[in-house]
């Protein structure tokens, strides 16, 4: 079976290849050369667990770093510097990270190195809680994560190809969500009963099963050509040349901008809601916040395979609209509801958005970069936009809360989310390839179950 993507690719690559004078023959080489990917069950299961353990490892970082350093008698100023530096690196490292993954020939190796470095930085946090060491560990973690994210997406695409990607991403999102939820619960318990330091020791130890799981992914089945979203090529004469044609760049820009608005609204919602819970429900606040973190993850685990299947049968747009529509509703509900227990129930809605986010970000990027060899770079571009939204979000919400109260802050975030929804509704084209019709329901499920 030859996937009929050649005309599309020709159109995309044509003008630039003529300009460069040497690419035109390359453009005639069929992308998938008739071979459909046949990933073995061992590889697919290896990827499942790799995604799971990576989610475990990543849970200890984030807001918990601040708790840990506080317990190590760090001043708030120093903690702020460490977090800001890590944030900056993870923002500006997204695109280089994606480009690195596009350039390597073994996504598996890149992922192994990245996850090892993340584990190492956790060990650094645990063993040497001194200024320079922690600063270094924080930078190392941020940089490694910039490679790790795209590398996992690339392994997925390299294993199953564009045809099976939506199912695969649904499965990835399920295992990531289970990993996040379990790790948050377990690390909360470790931090409470043992010590905050032990959390980072556990994090570092989880590196071992992550690497073992990755070893089950057979290297021969991860086609680097597929993993980069198209033909394997020498470094392009003009970087981004293949991304430039407007039929690809426009959806990528709209998509990135919409998800920037999404994260601008979304990132601050949970912390803000958590601090409202702390304010309203003294004794049970920590338990409620734990529930607000863990339970939506279980919900994501439940529905993301469904999201992956529907992305193929319904197309991307309906699901994007669903994920974006839930967000302003959640913001408004947070603003008007005062019962702490009901707030936690509303937080369940986050599961819908998170499942859509987890599956459709890599999926749509794979759609628009098909045949360019720049899948991971484009992931990095979208990741940077999303990261900007996320980092501004907390500051914005904090400022609004200080001046106008938390209800206003929730409403402002809801308004931003509504703008993102409008962006998707009015400007975002459907990106499901026309040449990939909905696979039969059974077939899709079978791939997911292997």
């Amino acid at each position: 079976v030859t996937l009929s993507v050649a005309p599309q690719r020709w159109r995309a690559g044509g003008p630039d290849d003529v300009a460069s004078g040497r690419g035109s023959t390359r453009a005639l080489v069929p992308v998938s050369a008739g071979e459909l990917p046949h990933p073995s069950p061992a590889s697919l299961r290896g990827l499942d667990w790799f995604v799971f353990f990576v989610a475990n490892v990543q849970t200890g970082f984030g807001p918990f770093v601040s708790v840990y350093l506080t317990s190590m008698a760090w001043t708030q100023v120093d903690i702020g510097i460490v977090l800001s530096l890590g944030g900056l690196v993870s923002l500006f490292g997204q695109m280089p990270g994606g480009a690195i993954v596009d350039a390597v020939h073994s996504e598996r190796f890149a992922a192994a190195v990245a996850v090892a470095l993340v584990g190492l930085s956790a060990l650094g946090f645990a063993l040497w809680p001194f200024y320079v060491a922690v600063l270094g560990a924080s930078v190392l973690h941020a940089a490694a994560s910039c490679v790790l994210g795209p590398a996992m997406a690339a392994i997925s695409l390299g294993l199953v190809g564009h045809g099976g990607l939506s199912d695969r991403l649904g499965r990835n999102a399920r295992f990531a969500a289970i990993g996040n939820g379990l790790a948050a619960a377990a690390m909360g318990a470790v931090g409470y009963w043992i010590s905050n330091r032990a959390v980072f020791v556990v994090t570092a130890v989880l590196l071992v099963p992550a690497l073992i799981a990755l070893a089950f992914v057979r290297p021969g089945e991860v086609d680097p050509e597929r993993a980069h979203g198209g033909q394997a090529e020498r470094p392009p004469e003009r970087p981004l040349a293949k991304l430039r044609p407007s039929d690809r760049l426009w959806p990528l820009l709209i998509f990135s901008a919409s998800f920037m608005l999404f994260q601008l609204a979304n990132s601050a919602l949970l912390p803000l809601m958590g601090s409202v819970l702390t304010m309203r429900s003294g004794r049970w606040a920590s338990v409620l916040i734990a529930a607000a973190i863990v339970v939506p993850q279980l919900f994501v685990a439940l529905i993301s395979p469904w999201v992956g299947r529907r992305a193929q049968s319904w197309g991307r747009r309906p699901l994007l609209l669903l994920g974006f529509a839930v967000l302003p509703i959640r913001g408004v509900l947070f603003a008007v509801i005062h019962d702490p227990n009901v707030l936690v129930v509303v937080q369940l809605l986050d599961g819908i958005s998170a499942a859509v986010f987890g599956v459709l970000v890599p999926l749509v990027i794979a759609d628009v970069t098909r045949g360019t060899g720049h899948f991971n770079l484009a992931l990095g571009i979208a990741g940077t936009a999303i990261g900007v939204g996320a980092s501004v979000s907390t500051t914005l919400a904090g400022w609004v809360t200080d001046h106008f109260g938390s209800s206003t802050a929730f409403l402002v975030l809801a308004a931003i989310a509504a703008t993102g929804l409008a962006c998707i509704a009015l400007l975002m084209p459907e990106t499901r390839p026309a040449d990939a019709p909905a696979p039969p329901e059974r077939g899709g499920a079978a791939v997911a179950k292997t």
Binding site: G62, Q76, G274, G282, I293
Partner: protein, 184 residues
Amino acid sequence: VAAAVAALMIVAATMAADARRHRHSQPAPQPVAPAGPAAAIAAVPPPEPAPPPRAEAGKAGAVAITFDVQNVQAVLGKDVRSSTDEDMGRLVDVVVDRAGQPRAAVIDFGGFLGVGSRKIAVDWTALNFARGAAKGIITVEFTRDQVKAAPEFKEGSPVVVLGALGGQQAQQPPPQSPPQSQDK
């Protein structure tokens, strides 16, 4: 000669720095310039339990003072618990007045894995450093339900301090510019 002069200057500067540092620890603290938030965390012993420290006269006017570990402790990052043994968070900063007297402790309160925690200021006199000292714990005379609604502590904005019931703050000498305080 130049080297000798330079060496002398370094010695003098070091001694001056030592003298500055130890002035905090002397029984009758003198007004000092307002210190930055990080510097304010220096081990200023609470004024009430003041066992006579052993002072040894230094050679050139600097005084070295030794405290027993039973009598003093560093407080940054210590666990704070309520009198009913609820987890109240950690002490992350100390608010001092212009005389260098501690007025409030900033506690990072609540949350799970760092999500949803809030920094609140509680009156310094509401803290008890003796009760849990052996376990490295500071106790506070509030419960979680009492402090949950306290406004967030922000550097640069007026500090709202949760005071102990019974107006214990009156025992503090009125400083030049008292931090705005408010009883629960």
